[in-house]
Symmetry: C2
Subunit: 217 residues, 2 copies
């Protein structure tokens, strides 16, 4: 019995490590996507677009492994809950990869022009950096199950929501005079950065729930 | 054994019926959200916003039931896959409910003004009607596991993508002269309708996969 439990623990550790790997891949994609859109770097955008397939493959393999583990080990309630949660986190991370991919596609669509006007580069840069930081944090939260750090993610998300609010305020300033296609691009970009962070929060809350049995207040 | 199998089959049927119920609730929310935004009907918007909690509760209860079924019945691989797929479909449906909720919130934010200018009401109406139609179709697909109908959902989604493309084209027409906040509202509305349909496609593909073991080409 001790041996079986240990093999199962190894399996859980392996799944947890795969989630961390997935978070790190997605973090790199987000960093590159933001860099691509700020510098109109088509090569970098294409890299993000291509690497999204790798994220999808890693997620697919991970999901298969999780489901096989449930089928083979027939885990008790708490272990089953951990595996189901792993499935949900992998889905959040995959979606975060998609959103980085969407940002890179805005770069590609507008290239060689830039989707981001000079006076808005700082804010987009800050949103991208905040999204990368939040992803690095959830990678640690997944690996360590640190609940304090999981709660910090809510505050990181507040920062991103505030940046998003500022972006929209700048867009609608009457004196700014943006064209409609710029406004559309920047509305979508803002939405992608914001949704990305929402999924990170979702991952942090899931870990918090696994450890404490409750969702954060 | 026959008895156990039958109890398990009853459980699967019950879960499937709950997914159909969830789809029907979401479909009503989408119909009301679209109507609210077209007529600036604050009362209707508030109804959608309030009913989103009911969708979330139904989804939460359904997920608990699915996980309990896995824990108690320790199903074989194919039954386990059906249950995991049910979890994913419930997540897609819950997200569709969120998107209807977002549309209602745009109505509320702009009330008593209308977020949709008169000349764009037809296109938003068509997107809303197409989203309702696609939800009604996936409810039937979930209930009947009809794979032909599951494939039709891709075509319904193409219609919505095309409406979305037309909406963006109308927004950027130089002669249209939309204000930036109108452009932002309509960009987000377009995105909500489009993402909603993407989740419906995802549900249809999951059913298709369950029945055939393959994803649609």
């Amino acid at each position: 019995m001790a041996l079986i439990r240990s093999a199962f623990q190894d399996e859980l550790d392996h799944i947890s490590q795969s989630l961390v790997d997935l978070a790190e891949m997605v973090s790199i994609s987000m960093a590159k996507a933001t860099s691509s859109i700020l510098t109109s770097d088509l090569k970098l955008a294409e890299e993000v677009i291509t690497s999204d397939e790798k994220v999808d493959t890693l997620q697919h393999d991970l999901d298969t492994r999780i489901i096989d583990t449930i089928a083979r080990q027939q885990p008790v309630a708490s272990d089953l809950r951990a595996l189901i949660t792993a499935l949900r986190m992998s889905s959040d991370l995959e979606r975060m990869g998609d959103l980085a991919h969407h940002i890179a596609k805005v770069c590609r669509m507008r290239h060689p022009e830039s989707a981001v006007p000079a006076e808005l580069t700082e804010i987009i840069k800050s949103m991208g950096a905040a999204d990368v930081k939040i992803t690095e944090k959830i990678a640690v939260v997944i690996a360590t199950r640190n609940t304090e750090m999981a709660l910090e993610v809510d505050k990181d998300d507040d920062v991103i929501d505030e940046l998003h609010r500022v972006l929209i305020t700048k867009l609608v300033e009457p004196s700014a005079g943006y064209s409609i296609d710029k406004a559309i691009d920047l509305t979508l970009l803002g939405r992608y950065y914001e949704r990305y962070a929402d999924h990170a929060v979702s991952v942090a809350h899931r870990v918090y729930f696994l450890v404490t049995g409750e969702y954060p207040a």
